[in-house]
Symmetry: C2
Subunit: 414 residues, 2 copies
């Protein structure tokens, strides 16, 4: 049996035990995990330091280095994240539907854990703890496969939380880290149909694509966001400027940031003149279609690639469209199905947009930046699904479960 | 652009139109499809005759030939199936959840079509119409890829129903058949991520496995059923015999038929002596573990392969187990996650079984034969999912949809 098969087998065995644990038992483990993280903070920081050194030697840049960095404050934040999961309602056992058949059979559709969840992720060591906490609360065993750049941090974090889980009476396979971080270990995980029930990749477009193309385990695609703001012909210009600037610049490196701005022709001149200053003040580079460049002197030309681009940077593609119909067609063609916004005061256009757009989240008059489990009031988030199967949009505890039918009878046969 | 890319592109374009069709428009098309099937029955039978001739030449056996055969009565039945779909509630537009955030954002989680559904199926031409009807009602475009043995029947059926859909004002890509039935066309379909939103294989274990292993399109696995009946120590023996016989023999060739019988040691002698006669009367061959063979003289030995087997035939593997715990462990190890039954009058054991078994449907004191969309009162069935992602158990219209978040604001930003 290979190293990964052993991990998978242990996880599968653990999942059977976890499936019938009560919320009280799972919460006790989560609290112990949180306390231990704080108790062993200096040890964690020491190992994190090794990852940081390695990264600096390799000349890793500021933003990525920042994501990799743990501090005492960040560890307390991560521990508090686990404590917040304790407060969330246990999704397991929820009866989501139920009815009695004419023959007396009593059918209940009950929420149960997935079983074994695999997470393949990049850089951020906080994902190790967040993902483990959410999987545990939803009754799943988790297999974590982080990147080599965070291996020392991930190893000590997993040691701390898996130990705490074990000391709380949970089985050994509850939380496991795949310590080999070569490509082969990821590819092996993708072939573990029958052991792993769902694989969630969290990271860049390249990672997601590799997992989707190579996995025989069911996958939930997350977090590729080519999001749009469309400013309709009768939009309030002040509101449109504010929403555009917020969607683009509040945090340009995340998946719910706006990447393309569409403007209805009738409002193009007035709005583009206004929004240009507000965006350039924040350091945003504009790339426009021909009509945009007729209004905005000196900005560079947007090519076909720009309409597809997820910049994750202070760049914004701008296109003038005829109307809401062209906006919808553009978004459905070039978008990634994440989050789109229409700014309008036209009732019919708002309805056309919300029904015509094929994305996880569609906004009328609000920033795309709200697409987030925390912002949506879900309490926590395991990722944002941009696929249609199983879950779409921000995912929290219920999205880490499946259902089963429990049918109670008195001897019924067909 | 290849033949299949053209089909996929047409389906994708159609899906955008279908997504916003009202139930009235979709129902009108379904009724026209039903009428046309009856009007063109003799033409359909003629083409079906060609498939039957071909099958007979190839020496195809009785049961498969029977499934391939259409008659005037069967065509009326298929048309009535479409009329029943008209009566089902349109799942599209259902608001499944909704809330208002503290900042005033009003969130609705709305049911919307998947988009493009691909069905890869074997033999039965009725699937062509059933699947198309369910996909249409749920607002999806469908790409049908049947087997070569039914190509003439599938071609004429698709011609009839796609024509009716078109004449009802629905787009050309609403219902399409892939007319090339070689392996390559199936493999190409499995690689159409971005065009096809979900692929549902319907057929034997080999087909399902091929699709799961080769598809980069999300897949819903259906219909592999190694189902179990477990007779607990304090079961009512009459009830246990009746449920066992019904689960095994009512229709042995379908996925919800029982394949392995487990018996608690305490009741083994009394029960096995009773059930043997009832089963053998129906022509069932028994294969037993050592303890079973101690009680039942002359039956053959069950090997490890038998515990994994989906016979789809009048064969039943029989094993004596210590108690409910061993029964659960056996089922979770060897089962396919379809349907399992405990016959018991013990409260605690019934609870252990329903919570411990990791299958789509768990019965207490009822035949496994009830796992079926029609029996469950869902009105119609596109298949029975044995995976955990997206849908589990019998799938009907809601399982052919996804959701999106519609968020209404008044200018909110973060």
């Amino acid at each position: 049996m290979t190293y990964l098969e052993e991990i998978a087998k242990r996880a599968k065995e653990a999942s059977a035990v976890l499936a019938v644990k009560t919320a009280m038992e799972k919460n006790a483990a989560l609290l112990k995990m949180a306390d231990r993280l704080e108790e062993r903070a200096s040890e964690i920081l020491e190992w994190n330091g090794k990852d940081l050194e390695m990264a600096k030697e390799q000349g890793v840049s500021g933003a990525i280095l920042d994501r990799l960095t743990l501090t005492e404050a960040r560890i307390i934040e991560i521990a508090d994240g686990l404590r917040k999961i304790v407060d969330l309602r246990d999704p397991v056992g929820e009866i989501v539907d139920g009815w009695t058949l004419p023959n007396g059979l009593y059918i209940q559709k009950v929420r149960v854990p997935m079983g074994v969840v695999g997470i393949i992720y990049e850089a951020r060591p906080n994902v190790t703890v967040d993902a483990a906490g959410l999987c545990l609360k939803s009754g799943n065993a988790v297999i974590l496969r982080g990147s080599s750049s965070a291996i020392n941090s991930n190893r000590v974090l997993t040691d701390v939380i898996a130990g705490a889980a074990c000391d709380s009476g949970l089985p050994a396979g509850t939380v496991q880290l795949v310590e080999s971080t070569d490509r082969d270990s990821a590819r092996q995980l993708m072939k573990m149909h029958g052991y792993i029930d769902v694989l969630i990749p969290r990271g860049g477009a390249e990672l997601i694509k590799t997992v989707v193309e190579n996995s025989n385990v069911p996958v939930i695609e997350t977090g590729i966001g080519n999001c749009h703001v469309y400013v309709d012909g009768c939009a309030d210009i002040d509101m449109a400027v504010e929403i555009t600037v917020n969607s683009k610049t509040d945090r340009p490196g995340v998946c719910n940031a706006c990447e393309t701005l569409l403007v209805a022709e009738g409002l193009a001149r007035d709005f583009l003149m206004r929004v240009r200053g507000a965006l350039e003040e924040k350091g945003v580079e504009l790339r426009g279609c021909e009509k945009t460049r007729d209004v905005l002197d000196g900005i560079s030309e947007a090519t076909e690639d720009d309409w597809y681009a997820e910049y994750l940077d202070l760049i914004l593609a701008v296109k003038v469209v005829d109307d809401v119909n062209e906006a919808i067609a553009h978004i459905n063609k070039y978008g990634s199905g994440h989050s789109e916004c229409i700014v309008t005061n036209d009732y019919e256009n708002s309805r056309k947009f919300t029904s015509g757009i094929d994305s996880s989240t569609v906004y009328v008059n609000a920033s795309t930046r709200f697409t987030d489990g925390g912002q949506f009031g879900m309490g926590a988030e395991i990722g944002i699904s941009t696929q249609k199967l199983h879950a779409r949009g921000p995912m929290s505890l219920p999205e880490l479960t499946t259902t089963k039918f429990v049918v109670l009878g008195e001897g019924q046969v067909r």
